[in-house]
């Protein structure tokens, strides 16, 4: 038997039985679990945004107070005295 015919035969074995009946109590359980997953996802996304905003605010406040772009006064040159 060549490969194609074997595959057709195997497919027929798997399709021999009619599809099983889906138990009616499965659907509410699916929706309940799905809603819970969705809620968790939303909470995670909200938390991520919150952390991102907090980091942005913290960085702005630090930048405004510390002025990191201003060149610090030189400390290596010896003080000029006596001329």
């Amino acid at each position: 038997m060549n490969r194609v015919r074997r595959e057709v035969a195997a497919r027929q074995v798997m399709e021999a039985a009619p599809p099983p009946r889906v138990p009616p109590e499965l659907y509410p359980e699916i929706v309940r679990r799905g809603e819970r997953l969705l809620w968790r996802h939303r909470v995670a996304v909200r938390l991520m945004w919150l952390v991102l905003c907090a980091a942005a605010v913290a960085f702005t406040v630090w930048a405004l107070t510390a002025h990191p772009w201003v060149e610090p006064p030189s400390e290596t040159t010896p003080p000029l005295t006596g001329w």
Partner: protein, 170 residues
């Protein structure tokens, strides 16, 4: 904003219900073939289907035109692969969760069932199956050929009994 949420929730539940009504039977059949259970007694397949469809429900609004059946099928396959890993790989799991002897694929190993069902029953291409399971394409081909041989050899063991018996009776 609240109203938009409500209409979106209503639309999702309506669409999802139609999807489950249409594809639930076939997905449950796939899950039952994967677990190797019989058609009428398939608690593992039901649980697998519940978890996979819950995942599909949760990402329904983010599908963006993707086929929900494909998403559910992929989740089913990866979830089954992971559960097999935990079931047979972990200590103390021996002998638990053996497939029901009534299922048509009960004689195959879980990985053979997974490849056979994805390749032949679901008609997923060889490359996609390989990518989904993280195996080389040649390996998928070999597993599929071996599983097909094992599956089709079964009738040959029982079938000759009938002509043989006839010959003796004659």
């Amino acid at each position: 904003m609240e109203r938009r949420h409500l209409t979106r929730d209503a639309r999702r539940s309506r669409e999802f219900e139609a999807f489950v009504a249409g594809a639930g039977g076939r997905l449950l059949h796939t899950a039952t073939l994967l677990t190797g259970e019989s058609r009428d007694d398939n608690p593992r397949a039901c649980r697998l289907l519940t978890l996979s469809l819950a995942h599909t429900y949760a990402c329904w609004d983010r599908l963006r035109g993707e086929d929900p059946y494909g998403v559910a099928r992929q989740e089913l396959a990866t979830r089954f692969a992971r559960s097999v890993w935990h079931r047979y790989g972990g200590p103390g799991a021996l002998g638990r969760g053996r497939p029901h002897p009534d299922g048509p694929l009960a004689r195959l190993s879980p990985r053979e069932r997974l490849v056979l069902v994805l390749r032949l029953y679901e008609g997923v291409a060889e490359e996609q199956t390989a990518a989904l399971l993280g195996l080389p394409r040649e390996r998928v081909e070999a597993i599929c050929a071996r599983a097909t041989a094992t599956l089709l050899d079964r009738p040959r063991e029982t079938a000759p009994a009938v002509p043989g018996a006839k010959a003796v009776a004659r």
